[in-house]
Amino acid sequence: MAIVEFKDVTRVYTSGDHVLKALDGASFTLDEGKFVVILGPSGAGKSTLLNMLGGLDSPTSGTIKVNGKDISTLSNNELADYRASTVGFVFQFYNLIPTLTVYENVALVKEISPDALDAKQMIAEVGLSDHLHNFPSELSGGEQQRISIARALAKNPRILLCDEPTGALDSETGVLVLKLLLSMAKNYGKTIVIVTHNQSIAKIADVVIRVKNGKIKSCEEQSAPMSVDEVEW
């Protein structure tokens, strides 16, 4: 069943006389529980796509349906509620709140997400129970990203959105984080969308969407994706 449906979605940025078509008539559908990689060079429009799917941005034209509901016309507050309940984000730069501890960063989502999961359990699952009361600045990059994953999953969202989640990490740590991300998404049965320019990640995806110059070049299902361990990083 399609959980995400993009229909002729266009996003135009204008600043002064300068008009930039970041996304130009993108259409595709995604099925629930799949691992999707959006691939493309920088500036191709893949982050724009992700932001719109995440409810951070609204399309200039076209419709986006998530779980059968049109999110392209929601108000600011409705979008906030959508972000709180339906999607979880993992960013390249983790975006943890520096003044909250590891535990608090994850427990935070309880205030907004109706079906939030237990924070301590999530932290245990990413293997950082020893660091519950540390501040983010006391952790390594990889650890911070694991907390960020725990936070995203603690919301118990339908979809997990990741923007270059390994972009700021060395390749060894990157693989570990990626492994964790995938296994947890699988355990919890989440749809996971990763935006990257890293070709290797595409090899392990169920679905690969290639984006170039704001247009969807291809959207192919891979019948036999490789496992993380098979890929050469």
């Binding site: 941005d57 906030a80 709180a84 907004i112 997400s113």
Partner: protein
């Protein structure tokens, strides 16, 4: 090119720049305003004193000084000039108005300044009248003025309109707080005119210009005349003492408020420059990487501090003169109290080095802020500024910590992490609160003072002033006739000071007494009561000594208690106690419930004053108070708004990323807004809690600096507390809301794109 960058950067941070300039301008303005005020009062009145030969000493003898006396005094070594003098209150016939009638026999001391009309002529048959009294009463040169003194007519043509330093603060007696030129003025006549009207020569006063010490003069006069004479120095004369105490008040104000405002200005500059430098760190690093020398970059950024300092100081100087001219100018507040011909604004010399020091300091602040960012290699400089890493504070070890909501924790940590920013917010709220409580409390205190004076102490309808020559039996008959209470006042020497001994017969309670708590009290017949200003000179039950002027006697009396004397510094006793101690006295005033029209004029009556008229003279004083309070309130609101807004914006910019993250997670704008405002509210609560006692303390200092003039009791109404708290919270909430509103416009996508 760098110059262009200078302007563009300034434009980018325009609200920060503006608030820095404003705060410095306000700091400098308040500092200069009060200092110019007291310096100008001092200098302007001193100039006037010199111009009109103001007397350094006044000698009093009720029976009058003889021609021989004055010759002997003039011969004393160290006496530059001396004149026999008369200053009595004379009624303006058929009106309730009166003037202080002045005669200076030699016209070498206590002269006047002719503003209009003819010069002084000691043989002329005419009156020189106070120009302000004339203006209020539509009297012009050439009009005839009919005065009456002790039943004697003194009518004459007005020859000139004048000002005089002797009457610079023109009040009928110590019960009148502020001049009221519509009802009371002053006039000079020539000695010849006086003699012609009275049919005799009578001068109960000698005015002297001399550099001698008071004690020395007392001694020499005593040996020259062979008797003790009551000598008062200019410190005890209303004109000099009044101007001095105004200057003193200005000095007190000038030492409290400006410190607060300047501190806020400088602190604003420090925190803001630090933030700007931190924000600009990458740019600073880029310039360094491009090959600009540190010194060049430093000069570039230091220029901001200098420009801000210069603009702020320049605005502040303007503001300072503006504030001072509100007070010291022909139409300013002080003109309702002091009557001088020229109001010049003079800046005390010490202000200039202080201004320069402030300027240098501000420049150094910006220099240091940038220097920190330049440290290390170009690569170090290129890295964005990272605030101190989070550490756990003591609070987190407390038992309740874990139970706090994440928002509360977030805010508490944020407050502790940005200590200087939080401290500045506190100081802003504290200052706002302090000004409100101080300003409104001052008004409460003065209003309380008025109420005690009007409703408690002064229970009479009319005060009859008696002539110096009135006979005791006649006075008693009059007092009996109008069923009045009476008062006798004498100058006495007590503990080396000249104060007043007041003896009351107050059986009818037309005049009443209050204790330190403003409760009515009765005077007993077994001792004296010291006014609160003298309270620390003796304990109850102690025996004190004093000697009346003009007498060799020393009296030893018992202290029975203390009372609040609103105006005079005095020792009070009942007539019964005075008689039992055999202290002689001369009744000077009768208080009665009869209205002045029903009291027949007679030769023993020197004047009649309605209580209502006396109280009306306080109106203009209260209007002044209102204006002062307005200035305080407006100042408080400006201060609070500018400081809080500036800090709010800085805090918002710093937490931009965190706020964007919260937004992405799904927090609604309102929820984030509440978080931002609640931090403001906590700081406001703390600021208010310390600002309240702070305001009360400032008020206390102000009131004690006034204590030589009046005995004020610190009064702060519930309304003052509530208005101050509400206004402070109002300012904090409005500003908080203005800042919180901004989070709606956060561009989540932009804010999350890596670290700038």
């Amino acid at each position: 090119m760098l110059i262009r960058k200078l302007f563009r950067t300034a434009w980018r941070y325009k609200s920060q720049f503006l608030s820095m300039i404003l705060m410095i301008a306000i700091g400098v303005g308040v500092f200069l305003g009060f200092n110019i005020e007291w310096k100008s009062i001092e200098a302007d009145t001193t100039a006037f004193f010199e111009e009109t030969d103001y007397a350094d000493f006044r000698l009093y003898e009720e029976t009058g000084f003889s021609e021989e006396d004055i010759e002997k005094i003039q011969e004393i070594d160290g006496v530059e000039a001396a004149t026999r003098y008369l200053a009595v209150n004379a009624e303006w016939k058929d009106t309730k108005k009166s003037v202080s009638l002045n005669v200076s026999e030699n016209y070498t001391v206590s002269t006047m300044l002719i503003m209009e009309g003819s010069e002084y002529d000691e043989g002329a048959d005419g009156i020189w009248l106070s120009d302000r009294f004339a203006a209020e009463n539509d009297i012009a040169v050439g009009d005839t003025l009919e005065l009456s003194y002790m039943g004697v007519d003194i009518s004459s043509e007005v020859l000139g309109l004048v000002k005089s330093s002797e009457n610079m603060i023109c009040v009928a007696d110590e019960n009148q707080l502020m001049p009221d030129y519509e009802k009371f003025g002053f006039a000079y006549i020539s000695p010849e005119k006086l003699e012609e009207a009275l049919g005799m020569v009578f001068y109960p006063q000698v005015n002297i210009i001399s550099d001698m010490e008071k004690a020395e003069l007392e001694e020499t006069v005593k040996s020259a005349l062979g008797r003790t004479i009551l000598v008062t120095s200019k410190d005890e004369h209303i004109a000099y003492a009044g101007a001095q105490s105004e200057a003193q008040e200005g000095k007190t104000m000038g030492s409290i408020l400006p410190v607060l405002f300047l501190a806020i200005g400088v602190l604003t500059m420090m925190t803001t420059m630090h933030r700007i430098a931190a924000n600009e760190k990458v740019q600073i690093g880029t310039l360094k990487a491009l090959g600009f020398r540190d010194s060049r970059i430093l000069r570039h950024y230091t220029a901001y501090g200098l420009v801000i300092g210069l603009l702020g100081t320049a605005l502040g100087i303007g503001l300072g003169y503006g504030i001072a001219s509100l007070i010291v100018s022909p139409a300013g507040m002080m003109s309702t109290y002091i009557d001088i011909p020229e109001w010049k604004l003079i800046m005390p010399a010490f202000c200039i080095p202080i201004l320069i020091a402030i300027l240098v300091f501000l420049t150094l602040i910006s220099s240091f802020s940038v220097k920190k960012m330049l440290k290390g290699t170009a690569a170090d400089a290129l890295r964005p500024y990272t605030p101190k890493a989070m550490k756990k504070s003591v609070i987190e070890k407390l038992f309740f910590w874990e139970r706090l909501s994440f928002g509360t924790k977030w805010n508490i940590r944020d407050i502790l992490r940005h200590k200087s920013r939080s401290a500045m917010t506190l100081i802003g709220v504290f200052g706002c609160m302090l000004l409100l409580v101080g300003g409104l409390g001052m008004k409460d205190t003065m209003a309380g003072f008025m109420t005690v004076l009007d409703e408690e102490v002064s229970n009479y309808t009319t005060k009859i002033t008696l002539s110096e020559s009135a006979d005791h039996a006649e006075i008693e008959a009059l007092a009996e006739d109008v069923s009045g209470d009476w008062q006798a006042s004498t100058g006495i020497s007590y503990e080396g000071e000249t104060i007043t001994l007041e003896i009351y017969h107050a059986d009818n309670e037309w005049i009443r007494f209050v204790d330190a708590e403003n409760n009515l009290m009765e005077l007993g017949d077994d001792g004296v009561y010291l006014c609160l200003r003298l309270a620390d000179t003796a304990e109850i039950g102690d025996t004190i000594e004093f000697s009346p002027y003009g007498s060799e006697e020393t009296y030893r009396v018992k202290v029975a208690g203390y009372l609040r004397s609103l105006m005079t510094e005095c020792i009070v006793m009942t007539d019964a106690y005075a008689e039992s101690m055999e202290i002689p006295y001369h009744i000077s005033a009768i208080y009665t419930d009869e209205s002045s029209e029903d009291i027949e004029n007679s030769s023993i009556i020197a004047g009649k004053q309605d209580k209502d008229m006396i109280m009306e003279t306080y109106d203009s004083f209260m209007e002044l108070m209102d204006l002062m309070v307005m200035i305080f309130v407006v100042g408080a609101i400006i201060l609070g708004t500018v400081v809080l807004y500036n800090l709010g914006i800085m805090s918002y910019v710093e937490r931009h990323r965190e706020l964007a993250t919260l937004k992405v997670l799904g927090f609604r704008d309102k929820h984030i807004g509440r978080l931002l405002i609640s931090q403001n509210i906590w700081l406001t609560v703390i600021g208010v809690l310390i600002g309240l006692p702070g305001g009360v303390a400032v008020l206390y200092v102000l009131i004690t600096s006034l204590v030589s003039e009046y005995e004020l009791s610190l009064t702060i109404g519930v309304l003052t507390y509530s208005v101050s708290i509400l206004l402070t919270f109002g300012v904090s909430l409005v500003v908080g809301w203005m800042v919180a509103r901004k989070n709606k416009t956060i561009d989540m996508v932009e804010a999350l794109k890596g670290r700038e």
